[in-house]
Structures are given as structure tokens and as C-alpha cells.
């Protein structure tokens, strides 16, 4: 199991990169763009086999940032491709991420019902 301080360092570093992008690029680069960059970057690095080593040393420090979600999507897709061929291209990613996506939708709905924005 990954030691907690490694999760802290890797996770913190990934967030730090995001902060640098936010502060040093033009205002046109919004947090939305950054999140897309992370999920896409994680997916691509995963495809190149470069993200799994980061998960092995950083544990949650690599899976909790949104790049970890991209990694999850890619790994799910690749596994499904091995088992089912081209059908796996379409179903693999979502299958792997299903738990997270449904949780986001359901908790999103529940919190919206219970709470009101305070501003």
C-alpha cells in the first residue's frame, strides 16, 4: 500500500501544476479548460503506459485528481478492447467509470433537492 506522504506529494504536485496554469496563462484559459486538459492528459498518458507508474508510487495522489479519472476511462477501454474487440471501444470506458458517474449524478440531484445556494 502507498504511504500517505506519497499520496500527499503526488496529489499536491498535480494540483500545483493546475494552479500554475491558472495563474500564468491568459484569462481565456478557464478552470473548465484546465479540467478538460487534466482528464484528456490523464487518458493519453494512460494510453502510453505512463500513468500507471504514477498510480503505483502515488496511489490516491494519482487517482483522485481528475487525470486519474481519464486514466480510469482509458484502462477500462483498453481492457474491454482486449476482451471484446471493437465493441469494447465504446463500452469499456463508461463501464469502468460507471460508479463515479452515477454517484456524481445522484448525489448532485440529492444535494440540489436538499440544499439551496447561499451565495
Amino acid at each position: 500500500m502507498v504511504p500517505l506522504y506519497m499520496a500527499f506529494l503526488v496529489g499536491g504536485a498535480l494540483c500545483l501544476i493546475g494552479q500554475l496554469i491558472m495563474d500564468l496563462t491568459k484569462p481565456g484559459i478557464t478552470p473548465g479548460h484546465i479540467l478538460i486538459g487534466y482528464i484528456t492528459g490523464g487518458a493519453i498518458l494512460s494510453g502510453l503506459g505512463l500513468y500507471q507508474p504514477l498510480v503505483q508510487i502515488g496511489g490516491a495522489g494519482a487517482t483522485i485528481p481528475l487525470s486519474g479519472f481519464g486514466h480510469l476511462l482509458t484502462q477500462g477501454t483498453l481492457k474491454a478492447v482486449e476482451q471484446k474487440g471493437i465493441l469494447g471501444v465504446f463500452s469499456g470506458g463508461v463501464e469502468a467509470a460507471a460508479g463515479g458517474i452515477v454517484a456524481a449524478v445522484v448525489f448532485g440531484y440529492v444535494m440540489a433537492v436538499i440544499f439551496n445556494p447561499k451565495g
Partner: protein, 337 residues
């Protein structure tokens, strides 16, 4: 026949300067914690003002401010022959829904944050032109309605930059009368749309500074007034950043206002309130005028004021389409005579 009241390129001078017969300023919690709290008529202590949505709250705020200005002048609603007003919401719904309750004819205006000056200038023209005897000019804005329309949902964890501005939750209303006593609007300069290529919607001050300086320069030229004519020239909401830019532009254009130049967005809040560059929104200049500034005029501490409200004329759509931010500034001169 030549337009006898036109002056220079973009200005008008009033033959019988309309009187600011009464006025009211109403603000939200943050403004009520600021340096001018005692100069506002009412301070609401929560953003919902007892309503179910923030849009309803904003509309209520505008409606109550106009009604308060009417009653402070000892008028009845029906004495007010025309209402000129505007806000930041799509289709200026806060204004329309407020006017529905007040029941006088409405001219809805959109000038972004320059709306207060726009409504005062137009209102003065209607009165001095002999079209109406008594009109109300007002504007309002609300932090949460502006945030959710122009930027992000209010509970989103975004990080503000040091050059960003805080939309004021505030409203101001003035009743202009052909007769009576009080400070008067003597002239106005209507602005052109100026765009010098800024596109950061979190820093509208930089986008609007050129428009403000352009209108002020045109005002001096059109009315042949020297740079030290006014006791105070105040821009609407350039904020600290926009104000610093404007001050450099004044030097460049050779028109540094004397003795005093300031900005409502900078004045409205205390540094400790965490508003970065300062306040913005139609309500910012509206409440500063109808609160502290007119109070000082009545007390004789200010006799000649030039209010230059500034507006950033972009929309979320144009922002996403990568457009720059065009801006406008309108100036009204208010003087004790």
C-alpha cells in the same frame, strides 16, 4: 432648425436644468458593512430580501428604491409621469417586473453599468425638452444574479483574481422635476462605444477606462469647461485597476481632472472586505450617487459633480466566442445653483 441644446460633438446643455427633487439608495449586506453605510436609506441584511429567487429580490430592491424616492419627495406614484430604469439581467427583467408594480410608463434601458448616467441624461432631456414634468431615473444590480448569469453558479469553488470586481447589490433612484429646489443636472455627454481590445471579463475596469477618459475629454471640449471646473469627477466602476489605467490615460491626453478624481467602485467598499479591485454593477454608481454623493451636495461640501458611469457591453455568448469587450461611458453634470 439646428439642435439648439446640442454642444460640440456628443453633449447637451439644459436650458432649464431639471432639479433632483428627491432620491433614495438601497443596498445589500456587503455594501452595508462598507464605509458609507450611514448614507444609504436602507440596508438589506440578506441577499434574498425575503424572496424565493435572487432575481425576485433584485426586482423588489429596485421597486422599493423607486417607491422610496417617490415618497421622500412627498409625491404620489401617479405624479411620476415616466420611469427610466435598467439592470444587468437578460431582457432587463428586474426593471420590467419592478415597473409592473409601480404602474407608470416605462422606458427600459440597457447600458450595463453605465445605466444610471444613461437614465439621468435621458430623463433630464425629457424634462428639459418639455415632454414630461417629472420622471424617475434609476438602476440596480445584485451580486448573485450577475454572478450566475455572467460567470459561475454561486456555490462553485472558483478563485478570484486580484483584478476582479465585485458586483454590488444595490439600487439608486432619482426623481427629476421641472420645478423645485435642489441640485440640478446642467448638462450631459453621451458616450460612444470604445473597444481597445481587452477581453478579460474578470477585469472590466481595463476595458472601460478608455471609454471613460474619452467621454470626459469630449465633455470638457464640448462644454468648453476647464479640467478644474468640477469639485469631483467620479467614474462608475473602473475599480482600482481601471482607475490606475485611467489616471495614466488622463496624463497622456493632457486632461488630468482637478482637484479630485475618484471611482464609485473603489469608494463603495473597504479594503478589508475582500473585493479585490472594487465594486461594479449598475447599482454601484447608482447607490453612491443617491447616498453619499448627493448628501454631500445638499450639505454644500460638493457643488459641482460630474458622474461618469461606465459600462462593459459584453455577454457570456460573446465571451465564449472569443470577442473583446466594447465599453461605453455617459457623463452627467450635477450642480448646486
Amino acid at each position: 432648425m439646428e439642435a439648439a441644446k446640442k454642444r460640440g460633438m456628443q453633449s447637451v446643455a439644459f436650458e432649464n436644468p431639471p432639479v433632483l427633487a428627491s432620491w433614495a439608495a438601497v443596498v445589500g449586506p456587503k455594501e452595508g458593512e462598507g464605509p458609507w453605510a450611514k448614507d444609504f436609506d436602507w440596508i438589506f441584511d440578506d441577499y434574498s430580501i425575503g424572496e424565493k429567487t435572487w432575481e425576485k429580490a433584485e426586482s423588489k430592491m429596485l421597486r422599493e428604491t423607486v417607491k422610496l424616492a417617490i415618497s421622500k419627495g412627498n409625491y404620489q406614484s401617479r405624479d411620476i409621469e415616466m420611469m427610466l430604469a435598467g439592470d444587468l439581467l437578460n431582457q432587463i427583467v428586474a426593471t420590467s417586473f419592478a415597473a409592473r408594480e409601480i404602474g407608470v410608463p416605462l422606458l427600459g434601458l440597457y447600458g450595463a453599468c453605465s445605466t444610471m448616467a444613461e437614465s439621468l441624461a435621458l430623463g433630464a432631456m425629457l424634462v428639459d425638452g418639455g415632454f414630461f414634468n417629472r420622471v424617475s431615473a434609476s438602476a440596480c444590480s445584485h451580486h448573485h444574479t450577475a454572478e450566475r448569469q455572467f460567470r459561475f453558479p454561486t456555490e462553485q469553488g472558483i478563485q478570484r483574481t486580484p483584478s476582479s470586481q465585485w458586483t454590488a447589490t444595490a439600487a439608486g433612484a432619482v426623481i427629476l422635476d421641472r420645478l423645485g429646489s435642489g441640485p440640478r443636472i446642467t448638462c450631459a455627454t453621451l458616450g460612444r462605444v470604445i473597444d481597445l481590445g481587452q477581453s478579460d471579463s474578470a477585469d472590466m475596469g481595463s476595458a472601460m477606462a478608455p471609454a471613460a477618459v474619452n467621454t470626459i475629454k469630449t465633455h470638457f471640449q464640448d462644454l468648453q469647461r476647464p479640467v478644474n471646473y468640477y469639485d469631483l469627477i467620479v467614474t462608475g466602476d473602473l475599480g482600482k485597476v481601471g482607475m490606475a489605467v485611467a489616471q495614466q490615460l488622463f496624463v497622456k491626453e493632457g486632461i488630468v481632472p482637478q482637484p479630485n478624481y475618484s471611482d464609485c467602485g473603489v469608494l463603495l467598499y473597504d479594503d478589508s472586505q475582500g473585493v479585490d479591485s472594487g465594486g461594479s454593477g449598475c447599482g454601484c454608481s447608482a447607490c453612491m450617487l443617491c447616498g453619499p454623493l448627493l448628501k454631500k451636495m445638499v450639505e454644500g461640501k460638493l457643488n459641482r459633480l460630474l458622474l461618469v458611469a461606465t459600462g462593459a457591453l459584453m455577454s457570456p455568448t460573446t465571451q465564449h466566442q472569443g470577442e473583446t469587450i466594447p465599453a461605453i461611458a455617459h457623463a452627467v453634470a450635477i450642480e448646486n445653483q
